[in-house]
């Protein structure tokens, strides 16, 4: 893939979290205060740097997220938050161990404000991470959770900055203190970019709903046209965040794959399954309604693999959406490489785009294999799940240079990935898109 760009952005990330620690060693450096205490302080500084850069990771900068696919960035955001929390806990335990007298201070009631800020910050970070890990178990809706998440993050980082201001050994030098505080506040200001500047830019590039088409299986296709601009230049298989029925400033947006051809950016189809509060409202959307898009994002695209000898798509349910975009684009381009689609659904009556897939077979060297969980009377195709046996029967395993794209519900993706692995398909040729980001 684009390994160089990946390495470049990893290096940028590491520089952003490590450089602030290096800054402490620039110019006149305070004397060491013992290995354990200095290790503890370094952990604290690193933890704050990690938490600060979290704002950047979720600011959705397209150039930086493109080589990875934004889903990896979100996973990383989640996992590195745990790393940051571990560093923070290590900081607290080691400081306490190196300065045992501090315990009395915490209990004395004479706690200085910067230690109170530290305690509050630690508590908020723990709360923030707990709420994120157990959001679904706590039955918290996505939108209120997201707002709370942002507010907690800002508060926790500001309190940590206050703690560093008040107690920061290594920052007695005024310019170092200014650089540290300024840098940390800079990360917090990114919220301003995300919540104000980005929506303002989206407002200047509105879209109109031109059609709402019912598909099978409680699914609807929303067609959008750009208003007064050229539309979205995207790669087939990528997705976009959709704001509908709200102002972009409301931060009420949902990610959807673009299902239409990348050769026609002037007309975008989003194929949306009714799965919850927002998706349930799609059927009532009237043509003429305003919509806003933030995108495109994602690395789930054939266009990252121009040298492939052909493509294999394995989709489940509405996971067909990004695959449709790739098939429609390939057809519009007159591509002649061999294509295979394995498409899993509950019943025949649930198979979205059944007819169009049939029509696409006339325009493309495309094999379509339907796999129904429950076959009907007279169905002589595959039934059951997309198991390794089913894959073995239909995939062009002997062919060299095929790239695999898997999209569907989580259990299906896991099953297919295991099956492909079992059949000896190298992992580097398999990529999957999960519709469950948060």
């Amino acid at each position: 893939m684009n390994t160089n760009r990946i390495i470049f952005w990893i290096a940028v990330y590491l520089a952003l979290v490590l450089a602030p620690l290096g800054l402490l060693l620039a110019g006149p450096v305070p004397a060491g205060r013992g290995f354990a205490l200095d290790a503890a302080l370094a952990l604290g500084y690193l933890a704050l740097a990690v938490m600060g850069v979290q704002f950047l990771l979720t600011a959705r900068f397209r150039r930086a997220t493109a080589p990875f696919g934004i889903d990896i960035i979100y996973y990383f955001h989640r996992l590195i938050a745990l790393v940051g929390l571990a560093l923070l806990v290590g900081h607290v335990l080691l400081v306490y161990r190196a300065k045992p007298g501090l315990g009395a201070l915490l209990l004395s009631g004479a706690m200085p404000w910067h230690l109170a800020a530290a305690c509050a910050s630690l508590g908020l970070f723990a709360l923030l991470i707990g709420l994120s890990l157990w959001r679904k178990q706590l039955h918290t809706h996505y939108e209120p959770w997201r707002r709370l998440h942002g507010a907690l993050a800002v508060a926790a980082v500001l309190l940590a900055v206050a703690h560093v201001e008040g107690s920061g050994y290594y920052l007695h030098e005024p310019w170092k203190r200014a650089a540290w505080t300024g840098g940390a506040l800079g990360w917090v200001l990114l919220i301003g970019y995300i919540r104000l500047l980005k929506p303002a830019l989206m407002l200047r590039r509105p879209y109109r709903v031109t059609a709402v088409q019912a598909e099978r299986a409680n699914t609807w296709t929303l067609t959008l046209q750009p208003e007064g601009h050229a539309g979205l230049r995207f790669l087939p298989g990528q997705f976009t965040w959709l704001t509908l029925g709200h102002s972009p400033f409301a931060a009420n947006e949902h990610p959807f794959s673009i299902a239409s051809s990348a050769e026609h950016p002037e007309r975008l189809d989003l194929t949306i399954k009714d799965l919850g509060d927002f998706t349930h409202t799609i059927r009532q959307v009237k043509p003429g309604a305003a919509a806003y898009l933030d995108g495109p994002y994602g690395a789930f695209t054939i266009d990252f693999h121009p040298a492939a000898s052909g493509f294999v798509f394995i989709a489940g349910g509405v996971g067909i959406a990004p695959v449709m975009s790739m098939l429609r684009t390939l057809a519009d381009r007159g591509d002649t490489r061999p294509l295979t689609l394995l498409y899993g659904n509950m019943h025949w009556e649930n198979v979205i785009f059944r007819e169009e897939l049939e029509a696409l077979r006339a325009r493309l060297p495309l094999d379509v294999v339907h796999v129904l969980q429950e076959g009907h009377e007279g169905w002589d195709g595959e039934t059951g799940f997309l198991t390794q046996d089913v894959l073995a029967r239909h995939l062009p395993l002997a062919a060299e240079g095929r790239e695999y794209f898997v999209c569907g519900p989580k259990p299906m993706i896991a099953l297919v990935e295991r099956g492909l692995h079992g059949l000896g398909v190298p992992q580097r040729h398999v990529r999957s898109e999960l519709f469950d980001l948060v």
Partner: protein
């Protein structure tokens, strides 16, 4: 699969950050400056002399030992962290220690540089005995 990449990246980053913290601490505390683990305990007479100087000089205005004094800057266990020479550097800070203390504290502590060397020896022996 993609989760694995993210997991691997996060874990590697975490280990790298830990290594950076340890490297930072080692850089700041070269092995030769550390208090030897088996340092002989300072002579009891010197320690009690140092304790008296500590009282007399009002160190407890800013520091606490065993919960007595200002708890913001506890000195308990400092003998396990810093060598007597380093401790002395913090008591009566020379110019090179300017960056190690808040400016007003650095200025305030200049007066301790005029203490008789025996008192400073006794003070650092006393603090070194806090382990």
């Amino acid at each position: 699969m993609r989760e694995h990449l993210a997991r691997w990246l996060a874990l590697t980053t975490g280990l790298l950050l830990l290594a950076a913290a340890l490297a930072f601490a080692r850089w700041q505390n070269p092995l030769e400056g550390a208090p030897p683990a088996t340092a002989p305990a300072p002579a009891p007479a010197l320690v009690s002399e140092g304790s008296a100087v500590y009282e007399a000089q009002g160190c407890a205005l800013c520091h606490a030992i065993g919960g007595e004094g200002d708890p913001q800057h506890p000195l308990d266990g400092i003998g396990a962290r810093l060598s007597p020479e380093r401790i002395r550097g913090f008591i009566a800070p020379a110019e090179a220690m300017r960056a190690s203390l808040p400016a007003e504290v650095f200025e305030f502590k200049q007066q301790f540089r005029d203490l008789p060397p025996e008192d400073l020896d006794a003070l650092s022996a006393y603090l070194s005995s806090l382990r």
